[in-house]
Assembly symmetry: C2
Homo-oligomer: 358 residues x 2
């Protein structure tokens, strides 16, 4: 499909037009090389930037010796195309795969990279691959592991679709399995066995009566949740089952560490066999940081907590407070009729430019 893009990327196009160019440059996860090449080539054309590359991840930065450094980051990949290319404009809407998630955010970052030759804060632009697939393939994760110095900063803005609203931090997620055991027997002589499924009653009662915590951090309200996401038990229609496994998912506010989250879950299910299978730490919103405070003012002062886990947590793990802020519509991500508002693209760029060039 590369014939859709015979010419190099022109970063002087307006935000909507540049978004359309990026959208018409297909880059489904795993197939980002051509787009990463184009992004790298375009950025190397600007002498105020130094450019590094690692795999299909491109990092550009200014080196002006400013007191603060800010990261603007976005992923290059999209979910699979669903008959929604090439892009087209209808009124204020640009339709197509990746318009909201998140080539509009990438376009804004690329335009700022090209045009902000003398920003008031040093800037690091990060474009990475494989955000839409398994965590171990995530390009930002590879940069964290192999080149954490490239990501050093005081604050980071991930330009994921937020409807041009600041979303602070993210909640952590922990998955665990609770295993109930019993003794197998023929159902006709059930008293010779011990029914493992029945022992799940107490676990599910604790879940049903669990009161999820709400907590305010940096002015944002987080809302936890503890849920069974799977239950499996049974051997055959005439057998008393000797095992039942409940998978639980704890979504926790970013004021808890991974260890604290695990301790809490173990307390809730005290007396049961519990194995943690899967962990992703949350990220504090960091809105009390100086860079964040001015960012919040520049973007209109509105912010809300982010409940789902996002890549901001990867910055958080490096000690870099991070927020999500982008022009895309979060509810349209991964939808066949995905679109992005052209005015939101322009507004997002204007707000960021006001913050960084003011």
């Amino acid at each position: 499909m590369s014939d859709l893009n015979p010419t190099p990327l022109d970063l002087t196009l307006d935000g909507g037009a540049l978004t359309a160019r990026l959208v018409d440059f297909p880059s489904v996860s795993g197939d980002e090389q051509a787009l990463a090449d184009a992004v790298e080539a375009a950025l190397r054309g600007y002498p105020h930037l130094t450019v590094d590359r690692h795999g299909n991840n491109v990092v550009a930065r200014t080196n002006l010796g400013r007191a603060e450094r800010v990261v603007l980051a976005g992923h290059l990949d999209t979910v699979p195309i669903a008959d929604n290319l090439p892009s087209y404009v209808d009124g204020d809407r640009l339709y197509g795969c990746g318009t909201s998630d998140m080539k509009s955010g990438v376009a804004v970052a690329l335009r700022l990279a090209a045009s902000l030759t003398e920003p008031n804060r040093d800037l690091t632009y990060v474009f990475y691959d494989c955000e839409e697939v398994e965590a171990h393939r995530n390009g930002l994760g590879h940069l964290v592991k192999d080149h954490p110095d490239w990501l050093a900063a005081d604050f980071a803005v991930l330009m994921e679709p937020t409807g041009a609203m600041v979303e602070g931090g993210c909640q952590g997620t922990l998955r665990a399995q609770i295993r109930l055991t019993g003794v197998r027997a023929h159902a006709a002589r059930s008293w010779l066995g011990d029914n493992a499924i029945h022992h799940a009653a107490e676990v599910l009662t604790r879940l049903e009566t669990y009161e999820a915590r709400r907590v305010e951090i940096d002015g944002l309200e987080y809302h936890e949740g503890l849920n069974a996401v799977r239950i499996d038990g049974g051997v055959a229609g005439n057998v008393i089952p000797d095992e039942c496994v409940i998978t639980i998912n704890f979504r926790y506010a970013p004021d808890r560490s991974e260890a604290e989250a695990e301790k809490h879950v173990r307390e809730v299910f005290d007396g049961f066999e519990l194995t943690v299978t899967d962990f992703a730490a949350g990220a504090l919103p960091g809105l009390a940081q100086p860079a964040a405070r001015t960012f919040l003012e520049a973007t209109g002062g509105r912010a809300r907590a982010k409940f789902g886990w996002t890549d901001v947590a990867r910055f958080s793990a490096l000690g870099v407070p991070a927020v999500n802020y982008g022009p895309g519509e979060p509810d349209l991500a991964h939808k066949r009729d995905e679109w992005c508002s052209l005015s939101a693209i322009a507004e997002t760029e204007e707000r960021l430019r006001g913050w960084l060039a003011g």
Copy 2:
């Protein structure tokens, strides 16, 4: 494997030797025709018997105008052979596939059929196919449906393996599904959903605290049981599930009808959506019948309740009280090292002969 049996069945062999001959005549479910042919041919050699055939089911009877008629029945099929043919004798044990379940019982019935020319009760011998497989293939079921008159009697003895102990009646079994519903949501915003798995807490609590009834019928103690045999719920690791299904199995004493059993289960799970999926009525032991009383005395007076569902219920459905009584060892049925006690074969035959020839 028919070369194992080049000669016709000789019903004058002693019980152990005849059992060995039958065992060495492979008849895995669906492959009973050769054995049914041999049984039919052997029985047609006795002028005191009239013989009927339906499929691979053979029915022979005396017609002496006695006041009572008794059925002796056994299935011809076995579970698949597991390197346990041909049979061999080790001390008092005859080893091989089907020795206990139930060619020893068939051998006893065939010997009685051949030798009891003037029994004190009219006798009906029933040999049928496909007992070890799906209920709709069961040969006794086909006779119940197509020739119920062939099975008319005052009492029936099914010669399944019972360790030469009378097992009376059988419990019924009812399976049902209880469906819990909720509202799907992303696990990061669980308060927007309604977790169907959590709603299973109340159902499982009722199961865990359920007190199963024990009841004495005709001097035998039945023991009911109500159990979850399967539970399934869950969409994905990050989704609040909107459905959870619990399959329950109620094993009930034969003093409850199917309708009463269903009513009881609906009362226990009042307030929940319950669908009955599967039903098999129980069978009363019928040990108060005159034929049964003398049978019990002749077999030593010991009897116990049968908890599992068995083909006696098919007789019960025709209004014929039925018990299980056979020389095989029930715990060895379907085992690779299946065996039957040669002395139990002789004892069972002697007891039945005493009852029917006395």
